[in-house]
Each structure stands twice: as C-alpha cells, then as structure tokens.
C-alpha cells in the first residue's frame, strides 16, 4: 500500500472515468439556485417587440470543450425551444473553434426541432456573427451602434439581410449577454456593457473559474451561472423537467464519471495520508 506504481493509479483512474460512460448510469442531479436563476433569466427575456436579442459570447477553445460545449448546448436548446433569438459572437481568436462547435450544435438542434414541427432556421432564429477582437472602448462603441459593429456574419452575409438582427440598433436592443468562457471575459462585459446599460448577464465558466465569479453573483452584476459541467447537467435536468428535452444529454452522463473520479481521488488522499502517518509512527519519515 505504501508505494503504488503510478501506472496502476493511472489505469484505475482511466477505468473509473470511462466505465460509467459505457454503463450509462445517470445519477440524479440536485437543483441549484444559480442554474435555476439562469434558466428563469432566459425565460424572462421578452422579444415580443422584435428586439432584445440574446448575445451568446463563446470564447472557449477545444481544450475546454468538455465543460463549455455542454453548457452552451444546454442553453442553445432552451433558446431554440422557446424561439428566443440569439447571436453567437467571439472576442478571442482561440474562441473561433468553440464558436464553430456551438454553431454546429445549433444547426443540429434546429434540424431536430424542424422535424418535430417547430421550424427553426439560421438567420431567422440565430446567427453566427464571427470573431471580432474587443476591448472596453470597442464594446462601448458597439453599444451605440450594434449593426455597425456586426457588419456581417461569419458566412459574409451583411447584417441587414439577417432577420435575427432586425430592430437591433443599440445596447437597449440587447436582451441578455451569456458569457461561455474559461477566462475572465465576463469582467469585460460587466465593465463595458451590462452594468452600464442594465443588461442581464449569465456566466458559464469552467469549474476552476467558478470561485472567481462569486463576488459578481453576490453583488447582482451577474444574474445566474452554470458552474462547469455540473451546471450543464443541472440545466439539462431543468430542460427535461420543463419538457424541452426528452432526456439528459452529455452533461448528465459526464457527472457520473466525475462523481466516480472524485470518490477515487478522495480514497487516494485518505490512503496516502494513512501511509504517511504510519511511516511517521515507525520513524521512517519526519514531519
């Protein structure tokens, strides 16, 4: 027990992580206030006057797609189911890959909904506005002239030919900003746009970034949060409860693996410390 070969540890870790995915053992996901608030915030966006588009800011690269893509996907399902218009935007060059993945997911979900008799189409229900580098002054400029900032979508279609951007002129026509990012890009949104123009902000950071976001949640500068892949699983559970999805998706499946891996890590910590204290007692090591 004293010195387990690293390769054995890694092999067990691999089995612990992958077996639940194959065995398909979904565990119940507890409700969480932050995910509930995020769900309610999207429900409350009122697009009846043809404006109040939702700005989905996607800034993740393939490195973090394991957490960020399920988060984005869950919210895209919600928005397309409720016919809430949204635009996908990225402000980082490394986020273009993530943006493309979210756009592809939106296409797949829209095709599925169209088969179910709820027609959804690119350009009318959502658009991919591509990559534009941004800083605080640039986003403040966007607030004054949204079509001047988003002149074309990622396919080169001029913004005046996109029905989703009809009646979207200034920051007053943006109903919400959702930031899906492994970095602190939400600080830029708070500084430049959401605090100044009283626009609701939802956060979807990776698990590692979650503690950093709490001051903004407590102060009310962000209205809801999806906490890593757990948040994605909680959101998927809400979608199933509200009959917007038949079954939970990848976020929920991954949670079983995560629970198993966490249990394994806790066992290793306990095992390692038991070994350490035994060695202390025998005098083999000093404190």
């Amino acid at each position: 027990m004293g010195n387990i070969d690293r390769r054995i540890l890694y092999l067990i870790a691999l089995l612990v992580m992958t077996l639940p995915l194959f065995l398909k053992l979904p565990l119940p996901i507890a409700d969480n206030k932050r995910s509930l608030d995020a769900f309610d915030a999207i429900e409350k966006v009122d697009q009846s006057k043809g404006n109040q588009v939702i700005l989905l800011s996607v800034n993740f690269s393939p490195d973090t797609k394991g957490e960020s893509l399920p988060q984005a996907r869950a919210m895209v399902v919600h928005m397309l189911q409720r016919s809430k218009k949204f635009i996908i935007y990225t402000m980082s060059s490394t986020g273009v890959a993530g943006q493309q993945m979210v756009d592809d997911e939106a296409k797949a979900i829209a095709a599925e909904l169209t088969k179910q008799g709820k027609p959804r189409a690119y350009g009318k229900d959502w658009a991919n506005m591509g990559y534009k580098p941004a800083s605080s002054p640039i986003l403040e400029g966007m607030a004054r002239n949204v079509p001047g900032f988003f002149t074309k979508d990622s396919r080169g279609t001029p913004v005046d030919q996109l029905p989703v951007m009809d009646n979207i002129k200034t920051a007053d026509d943006i109903g919400m900003v959702i930031d899906v990012s492994p970095t602190a890009s939400y600080e830029l949104w708070i500084q430049a746009l959401t605090s100044k123009f009283d626009i609701p902000l939802l956060l979807a950071p990776t698990s590692v970034m979650v503690p950093d976001t709490y001051p903004y949640l407590i102060s009310g500068q962000a209205q809801g949060e999806l906490r890593g892949v757990l948040g994605a699983a909680e959101y998927e559970s809400l979608l199933v409860k509200n009959k917007m999805a038949d079954q939970s998706s990848v976020g929920t499946r991954v949670m079983t693996s995560m629970a198993a891996l966490n249990a394994y890590i806790m066992i290793l910590i306990i095992l390692g410390n038991v070994t350490y204290f035994r060695s202390l007692r025998k005098g083999e090591v000093t404190k």
Binding site: I4, R6, L9, Y10, A13, M17, L27, P28, I29, A30, D31, N32, K33, S61, P62, D63, T64, K65, G66, S93, A97, Q100, M101, P133, S135, S136, P137, I138, E140, G141, R155, S207, V210, P211, D212, Y214, P215, I218, R227, L230, M255, T256, M258, A259, L261, N262, A263, Y264, I265, M266, L268, I269, L271, G272, N273, Y276, K287
Partner: protein, 293 residues
Amino acid sequence: MKEFFATPRHGWELTGFITACAVIFFLILFVIHLTPSSFKKRMTIVLTFVAGLYYLLEFLIPAETHIGSRVVTNPLTSFKEPLSTALMITGSLALLLGVYNLFRINGRLLMRRKTGWQNGLAFFIGFFSMLTMAMLNFYFPTGRTPEEIAKLKPLAQTFANGADQWKGWYNVLFYGGFSALGATVFSLLAFYIVSAAYRAFRVRSPEAVMLLAAAMIMMLGLTPLGTYFLTGWIQPDSALAGLKMESIAEWILTILNGAAQRALIFGIAVGLIATSLRIWLSLERGQFFDVEM
C-alpha cells in the same frame, strides 16, 4: 482628420491609401532609427505620457457640460473607438511576429538537421495543411448550386466542384486533429491530480487539515456523490436543509470564498493602479529606462 481616416475606401483608392500609409510609416521608422538613443528615450516617455493622459482626461471630463444654454460634449470621446481599433490592429502584429518566430525556429531546425528536426517538419506540414484546407473550405463552401458555380472563373470552378472534399479534409484536420488533441492534452490534468492526490496531499499542519476538509466538502457538494448518496435523504424544505452537502458547499463558496475573492479583487486593483501609474509616468525600470526618474 477622423473622417479622413475613417472614410471607407474601395478598389485602387484603398490600395493607394494602404501603400501611402505603409510608406509614411516606414519613413518615420527610418527617421526615428537615425536619431540618437537619448532622443528615442525622451520621445518614448513623452508619447507614453500623452497616450495615458488622453485616456485619463477622456474619463474625467464629463460627457456633457452645460455652459449657459450651450451643451458641450467631451471632444475626446469621439476618438476613443478609432484609437482602440488602431491599438487592436497594432496588437495583431504580434500574431504575425509569432508566426515568423515559429517559422524561423523550426526552419533552422529543419535546414540544419539538428536533433528533433522531425518536429520542425511536423510543424510545417501541420501549418500548411491546416491553412490550405481552412482557406479552401472558407472560400469554396459546400451548398453552392451548379448555376452559382458556373458564374465563377474557370480555375475557381475547379476548386468549387471539390467543395465536399475540402470540407471533409477540414473536418478531419480540425475536429479529428486539432480539437481532439487540444482536449486530450487538457485531460492529462486529471492524471496529474490523481498522482498528486496519492503522493503530495499530506496533512502536515492545521491549515492543511482545513484545506483538505474544504476540498472534500466541495467535491462532495458539487457532485451526486454527496448530494445524492450522502444527504439526498434530507428534504429541501426541512429544518435540516442547511446540512445538505450542496448547501454547505454553496455557503463555503458564497461566504468564505466570496470574501476572499473580493479582497483579492481589491488588492489586484490597487496594485494595478500603482503599476499603471509608474508605467504612465515612466518610473519603471526596464528595457528603455536605465535610471529611475
């Protein structure tokens, strides 16, 4: 002057404008290069101060001031956006510099057949294959009708007819290669944590005990491990609801972590102000400043 630079240009006018700007830029650079070192330092100090002063004054001067019956707007605000765009463009030169550096290092590795030259070759193959497929996929996308393809020039028609191939190769390289490899490298962290959990997490002090306890509570409170198996039996509206693992985890995040994060944010902000002030007033020792002023 803002209108002169901001007016959209097209065709030969645009080409001429860009060429003229480039020539003027290199001329200025050449003249600066000829000046003595002390003049360059003084010029850097003055330009740094003026640039910082612009942003400070733009922030401090009110957006609108009423003088009698007249409304005077802040004259500096209209330049803010074009200046930021210019800064972004200057910053993007770093991208080019990075690519040039990669070419130089890997090219030297390959040409001189040094140890690891295969990595240099792999870099060039990966770079040019991804560049080629991404450009072909972008400029010749799938979904074009035969009538739209017929309107293109003959060479473009050849490429347009192969749109399915370019998309296929792009998907293999992007989703199969780049995306999968990126996620794989990040996933290695899980194995490092497994190794650290067994070998490095030792309870050697009271602080370590607190750290470990908090970590265990968070792991239990944020996965079904704790929320379902441990305290799933507690009803959300019962008197014991506060003892549910997710409630304890949320308390730690909100109260303990929230306070610490706020302190960090304030500390970082104060440090940032101090450092920014030193850079703005050229008080920092560094490459261009041998002596603190």
